[in-house]
Symmetry: C2
Subunit: 340 residues, 2 copies
Amino acid sequence: MKILIDGMGGDYAPEEIVKGAIRAASEISETVVIIGPEEAIHDQLRANRWKGENIEVVDATEVITNEEQPAMAVRKKKDSTIVKGMNMLKTGEADIFISGGSTGALLAGGLVILGRIKGIKRPAIAAWFPRAGKEGVTLLLDCGASVEAKPEYIYQYGIMGSIFVRGITGNEEPVVRLLNVGAEEGKGDDLHKTAFNMLKESGLNFQGNIEARDVVFGETDIVVTDGFSGNIYLKSSEGMSLAIMREFKHKLTEGLIAKAGAMLAYSKIKEIKEVFDYSDAGGAPILGLKGAVLKIHGNSKATEVYYAIHRAIDYVDSNITGMIAEAIGNSEELADKGEE
Amino acid sequence: MKILIDGMGGDYAPEEIVKGAIRAASEISETVVIIGPEEAIHDQLRANRWKGENIEVVDATEVITNEEQPAMAVRKKKDSTIVKGMNMLKTGEADIFISGGSTGALLAGGLVILGRIKGIKRPAIAAWFPRAGKEGVTLLLDCGASVEAKPEYIYQYGIMGSIFVRGITGNEEPVVRLLNVGAEEGKGDDLHKTAFNMLKESGLNFQGNIEARDVVFGETDIVVTDGFSGNIYLKSSEGMSLAIMREFKHKLTEGLIAKAGAMLAYSKIKEIKEVFDYSDAGGAPILGLKGAVLKIHGNSKATEVYYAIHRAIDYVDSNITGMIAEAIGNSEELADKGEE
């Protein structure tokens, strides 16, 4: 198995990418391929005294930044890590591509170079979301790969999410719920009502709607929603989490008595921060492409890279892309009904 | 001025409603009218030793619960607090109606009995949202009055929100932003792109898109969005806030050393909870109806009722309903353009 990682993707590339790759590679037998400016990557490998055999370097001289228009950048920068990486996935030179680079460029590159799995209407970004007071994590999709929405997209997110969760966690019957404005059947706009009906008939373990405030308490394994709402959900939770953490830090360090308390309680605060820091849980797969792509956060450091590489092995081992292709083939009839 | 309050609306009715009404009435010259089962309300007034002159009681024998189908309940329960209250608004026997009852019934009753202001496509629920590290609050609308969305609805939310914020806070040029998946112009689906263009041409102080994670940091006075996304925004923030607070309480009380710290820091935690407890900031107006309706949270206690009554006076004094009618009349041409 060859795990390809974008050596230039993210705020701490290439240093932290290489460090994370080394940490993972020294534990596994799979080959980790780092793509990026050859010399810079080799410098980092040397700086970290890498002596192993299972890291390869592939040269790519260009980088697509977050500021560039993704489709345009993918067309122009043929020697970028993202374009070259996608091509390696396509030709089978790599089994999975991990990147902390521009999400837009990964999507555009994925669509243009790899293409969608036959029958898939739209790819989806699937993110792991933390749970409060409960074991495990919840998969939320789509987090914004497609801002336009149709019922059959959401229905397909249910299929793809179920296959992914099954493959990664071993949970054979993951619970799927639809993000909606109320828990009862019949809630929401036409889009969500139709999606509800399609999911109900799907054969998935669909257990109805879920309100946004209940997601974090872990009452479902998978939350499906259109990309617009998914993005709003994810970012509003992130904003609120950030705001409260800051306020806590601020409040707990003002005043003398509180300060003494804060110092004692500080380790606990750090623990909480970790619970709700869902910037990473092994990366967010872009599902529905003809190839396995794992997006990691732009601010990923070595630890996140390390976990993503481990998660990538499970991803490839579970043959998720192949299983999605098979499931979508079987479900096309139903999806077509929703499109009428 | 007659401020009508639903004596049976909410989890702590009628006790806390009456207490809050008494507290407010003893400070103001306006009349507070409590609607509900006459005897029960009078019992509460007596129990609280009310001796003043400016509380009146209007008898209503029925209550619409959250479990009832709103439109049906409004049709059948003619002697309910909500139906009778809306009728009193319509006939001018009251200037504003405050209720902690079923939001669906308030909307249905408002639409059927009061009707929409001429030209208003959809009423909107507007909620105040807390700010982290910044003075003031942010108005978010629509929070779910209409789950179906059209660009001109969102455009009208901008007009209504601006008039409301101007009337209540005195801020003459409140900043309006559109909730979207990215801050740059051109982001989002067709709905939001079209709404963006309409807002841009509106003459409002429109300053573009805002991402969900930035709202809580107070970079805008008003956030407009379709009712589905608004609901997702509000409830996901609420869920995350609740989850973190619980986790803090839990973590800070486990272990001996942390416990000592927690006790010292406890007062600070309470302060933070208050900052992010946006269950109430004087109630959420339902804008766009031919009458002033202020929805308060179902779990409101006397303090929230007290603040809502004070806020209600500003609401009526600012003639917000009249000003919306005037503004919408002037803007209909533009709204019609968006509908094409």
